[in-house]
């Protein structure tokens, strides 16, 4: 009996492998226009109005890392990508997903603009003048107050990164709600909310220390929605320096 599910699983895997080669995306002008419209509604909030990237990566490239072929692209659109912010598109029909996929593929046919700037100089500014490593980690080196940037170049566009540096409050990443907890007794704590339910809240301060409070023990709880603990670098870095830091961050990809 224990063997049966394994056999079933391998049968499914075989079926799936068999279907992968058969995917053919629609190619008519009407399909691409409809795909573009679907993209605007479902995808543009993160990938930009023309797929140029924003909070999500640019799709204007001939090769997509999670979607080497059209079957994989459809799977990504349908199910999302586990462990990332990319959700599945529950609201599109099979046909609509194929139209959206066809439009995404058409984006990769235009030549991609490289991110300008000098990544090596950017890395120096990141570690030196910018003191970014005080709060951010790259491959295990740096602080924990802000998001880990080891692979940030894969998920954020250059324009988005630039905006995050000059105006951190423009888009505070998910999971980085800044809160101040004033307990009935003891010192108050300011930090990132790491968890909360109806009865308790857990907070991590900029040093990486975690705190837990029962809500009944709290005198005041301030949630600074839309606030970022990160300072703005507007005026702190020159335009050329900013361009170089963005080039460095855009170069940060998963190590192969």
């Amino acid at each position: 009996m224990k063997l049966a599910p394994l056999l079933v699983l391998s049968a499914i895997a075989a079926l799936a492998a068999g279907t992968e080669t058969k995917v053919k995306l629609p190619a008519s002008r009407a399909d691409l226009l409809r795909g573009e419209k679907l993209f605007q509604v479902h995808c543009s909030r993160c990938h930009g109005a023309k797929g140029e990237g924003s909070r999500g990566p640019a799709l204007t490239r001939p090769k997509l890392r999670h979607a080497p072929d059209d079957a994989a692209l459809l799977k990504v659109i349908e199910e999302g990508i586990r462990g990332t912010e990319m959700p599945g598109a529950g609201a599109m029909s099979d046909h609509e997903m194929r139209q959206a996929a066809a439009y995404v593929r058409s984006l990769g046919k235009a030549p991609m603009k490289p991110v300008p700037g000098d990544p090596a100089r950017g890395a120096e500014i990141y570690r030196g003048k910018g003191n970014c490593a005080g709060c951010h980690s790259i491959h295990g080196e740096g602080g924990v107050a802000g998001p880990d940037l080891s692979t940030i170049g894969e998920s954020r566009s250059g324009a988005y990164l630039r905006e995050s540096i000059v105006d951190p409050q423009a888009a505070v990443p998910e999971g980085y709600l800044l809160v101040t907890v004033v307990p009935r007794s003891g010192a108050s704590v300011t930090g990132i909310r790491v968890n909360e339910d109806s009865f308790s809240i857990q907070v991590r301060d900029s040093s990486g220390r975690s705190y837990s409070f029962w809500k009944g023990d709290i005198a005041q709880l301030d949630k600074q929605k839309g606030k970022s603990p990160m300072p703005s670098y507007k005026g702190q870095l020159s335009d050329a320096e900013l361009t170089d830091v963005v080039a460095y961050l855009a170069s940060l990809k998963e190590r192969k």
Binding site: A4, V8, A11, I12, K37, L38, V41, H42, A89, G90, A91, M92, S93, D94, H95, E96, E196, D197, S198, F199, K225
Partner: protein
């Protein structure tokens, strides 16, 4: 006297399980058992037990737990008969457990077809028992009868073809000598039904199609051939009034869910409460909550039968807090609207007219660009149980305060494939939250609320001990039924949170409370 004998049956008699119809009908005579989905036929999910009460609930501790082997959502509502607890569990498992120790007495599993497609995982919400036979809906749309003493198969009948998108997830209802069962698959362009089966043989005696065929009254509320794929699924257990011999069963959304263009009309009997004769399956009356629904607001949650004063008259009511955001009290003898009002924020209707029909806001419909509407598709509440306490005369509902951006998309039907016609994206600019709300049963007027951090996904149970048990996220808690104060809470740590309804029972003279949380059944008793 016979029921008393069962109530005090010693542990040695565990194997003598026998639950004739009369025991379910008279469930209040044996408050220590939980003989049907909602304990009794009223759908109230009220336990007359009071050993655990407002004075001692703070001492509630885990007595035992039973973990399940697969990670699908665990939605079972156990039934308990004379010291044995029966559950359904993913993946398509039925188990008998000793109610005092949690030790397994037997386990049954039916393998599911590899090409089975389910909208929402291998979920199942529970069982029915009649005599010494257990009944449950297998995920592949079969109705299965098992020997309650051993778990051996009595019969297995096909309700519908799973390849066309049909499935079964709800607990059947045993009424007299029949098993009443609904179906699931409302997102696959199915045609809904409620069935009556001979409990002994599994022979189907009648079928009430929730969408009338060509030539039948109501079919004119569907454009063209759209009735054939109109869904109106019946995936949650109904209630029964023995006095009038009437079954009350809810129906789900019309298909495709979010694109109403292809099915203009009221789309009967989607989003309805149907009153049926359980002997013949004949419809006595229906009440449609959301005519021409475009938001996936199934009306399948268990209706609650409650008697009380409404507008100065004693009334026999059937009440529920609908997924569409409105609370409704109907006269259960004729289906006429008594009262209704919003119990959460809603922006799609300006109110209900004298007959209880919503007055739609024309712009508040899904669009290709997306339209912001309260409540979200998950509704103001959902399939999980509300509860009514005759002692406080209050109706308790676990609510979701959240909106969604509704998108209208393609509606192309392919057998066995999802037939949604759009969907929703979350709207988080106003932070969603939940609450337990206590409503006056005859009017829906808010009496109190206990605010919760998250929108809730789980049911409530109230007890004669003056308590309301409920869940939020991974927390399980008890509130004071009179005032709504928090009296006890427990962090279950359940993976995926709690998506089930609580029950309560007695074993060896001790009261327990049980809830499926994450991937385990947790059973609590006083320390």
């Amino acid at each position: 006297m016979r029921s008393l004998m069962w109530l005090f049956a010693p542990a040695a008699l565990l194997a003598q399980i026998n639950v004739p119809y009369e025991r379910i009908r008279d469930a209040n005579k044996e408050p220590g058992n939980w003989l049907t989905y909602s304990r009794d036929y009223t759908g109230q999910r009220y336990s007359p037990l009071d050993q655990i009460n407002a004075g001692n609930v703070a001492k509630l501790r885990v007595a035992w737990m039973r973990q399940v082997d697969e990670l699908d959502t665990f939605e079972t509502s156990p039934i308990v008969v004379d010291g044995t607890l029966f559950i359904t569990a993913p993946p398509n498992v039925v188990e008998a457990l000793d109610a005092a120790t949690g030790r397994t007495l037997w386990s049954y599993q039916k393998d599911l077809p590899a090409d089975l497609r389910l909208c929402c995982g291998k979920v199942n919400r529970g069982l029915a028992i009649l005599g010494n036979t257990l009944y449950y809906g297998s995920n592949d749309a079969h109705l299965i009868a098992l020997d309650a003493r051993t778990g051996s198969l009595r019969w297995d009948v096909t309700m519908a073809d799973y390849k066309s998108g049909y499935s079964s997830t709800g607990a059947p209802l045993a009424v007299k000598d029949k098993i009443i069962a609904g179906m699931a698959g409302g997102e696959y362009g199915t045609r809904g039904f409620i069935d009556g089966y001979d409990a002994r043989t599994g022979k189907r005696l009648w079928r009430f199609n929730t969408i009338p065929a060509k030539g039948e009254p109501g079919n004119e509320t569907w454009e063209g051939e759209s009735w054939k794929t109109g869904s109106a699924a019946t995936w949650v257990t109904g209630a029964y009034d023995p006095e009038s011999n009437t079954v009350y069963w809810g129906t789900g959304n019309p298909g495709p869910d979010w694109n109403g263009d292809v099915r203009t009309g009221d789309n009967l009997y989607s989003d309805c409460l149907i009153a049926l004769d359980p002997d013949t399956g004949a419809k006595k009356w229906h009440f449609q909550y959301t005519p021409h629904d475009m938001n996936d607001w199934d009306s399948t949650q268990t209706p609650i039968l409650a008697d009380g004063m409404a507008q100065g008259q004693p009334r026999k009511m059937v009440v529920l807090a609908n997924r569409n955001g409105f609370y409704y009290a109907l006269d259960r003898t004729n289906g006429k609207f008594i009262a209704g009002r919003p119990y959460v924020k809603q922006t799609w209707a300006s109110g209900l007219d004298e007959a209880g029909r919503p007055m739609r806001v024309p712009a508040a419909v899904p669009s290709t660009e997306g339209t912001l509407i309260w409540p979200s598709l998950a509704g103001g509440s959902n399939w999980y149980s509300s509860t009514y306490n005759p002692k406080t005369d209050l109706y308790y509902v676990n609510v979701k305060e959240m909106a969604a951006i509704y998108i209208k998309g393609d509606a192309e039907y392919k057998p066995g494939a999802l037939f949604n016609g759009g969907g929703q994206t979350d709207y988080l600019d106003e932070e969603p939250y939940g609450a337990v709300r206590a409503l006056e049963v005859a009017t829906g007027q808010l009496r109190w609320e206990y605010k919760l951090h998250l929108p809730s996904n789980s049911g409530l149970m109230t007890t004669a001990g003056g308590l309301v048990f409920g869940s939020n996220g991974t927390s399980f808690f008890a509130l004071d039924a009179g005032k709504g104060a928090l009296l006890w809470r427990f962090e279950t740590g359940g993976g995926g949170g709690i998506d089930a309804n609580p029950i309560s029972y007695m074993s060896d003279g001790k009261q327990y409370v049980a809830i499926a949380a994450g991937h385990a059944l947790l059973v609590f008793g006083l320390e």
